[in-house]
Symmetry: C2
Subunit: 107 residues, 2 copies
């Protein structure tokens, strides 16, 4: 069975859960790393962490609308939903990504 994930529509993306999702060191790292890579699977971003932890964070990011997961064979390819996010909350993600570049002292 093809494992599919639910991805919220733009209207379903709300500010507070978005902020909560971003306000975690691991997830902020994932977001910014993913931004620099464009697309990546789960394993690529584990940096010594257990897979179950990564899977959890990816789930959180997916459910609040930050990333999209595309299943391709065994791998799950993740991308940021930047265009949608930029329309929904203009400037938010871009300023966070820029902020991380300014102060990457987070994770």
């Amino acid at each position: 069975m093809a494992t599919l994930y639910y991805h919220p529509t733009p209207e379903e993306v709300t500010l507070l859960p978005l902020l909560r999702a971003v306000a975690d060191p691991v997830r902020l790292g994932i977001i910014c790393h993913l931004h620099s890579l464009g697309e990546a699977n789960c394993t690529t971003l584990l940096r010594g962490r257990p897979k179950s932890s990564m899977s959890h964070h990816f789930q959180v990011l997916r459910e609040v609308g930050i990333l999209h997961t595309r299943v391709e064979g065994v791998q799950h390819r993740n991308t940021l939903r930047l265009t949608m996010l930029e329309e929904r909350f203009p400037g938010l993600m871009s300023s966070i990504l820029r902020g991380y570049a300014i102060d990457p002292a987070s994770p």
Copy 2:
């Protein structure tokens, strides 16, 4: 004794604590309410909540650099440090404030 508070310098303001501080429904409400008022004391922003809770949230917001507390007599007047924040992390606060206007469904 004049009660003084420590306010972090711009360099001491870091992204992750800032995001954590904002990612709370009560504090997000305080921030946006304060933005519309310009300046306000603690009591003005209690909306049925106990003072001790408000005091806690104001402390968090102060310590991460989001607001400045000016003591005037018995009252503590709070203002957002928007100019500093805009220099430190351009676009961040403004996009959050705009985001709250778009989706105020938070608190």
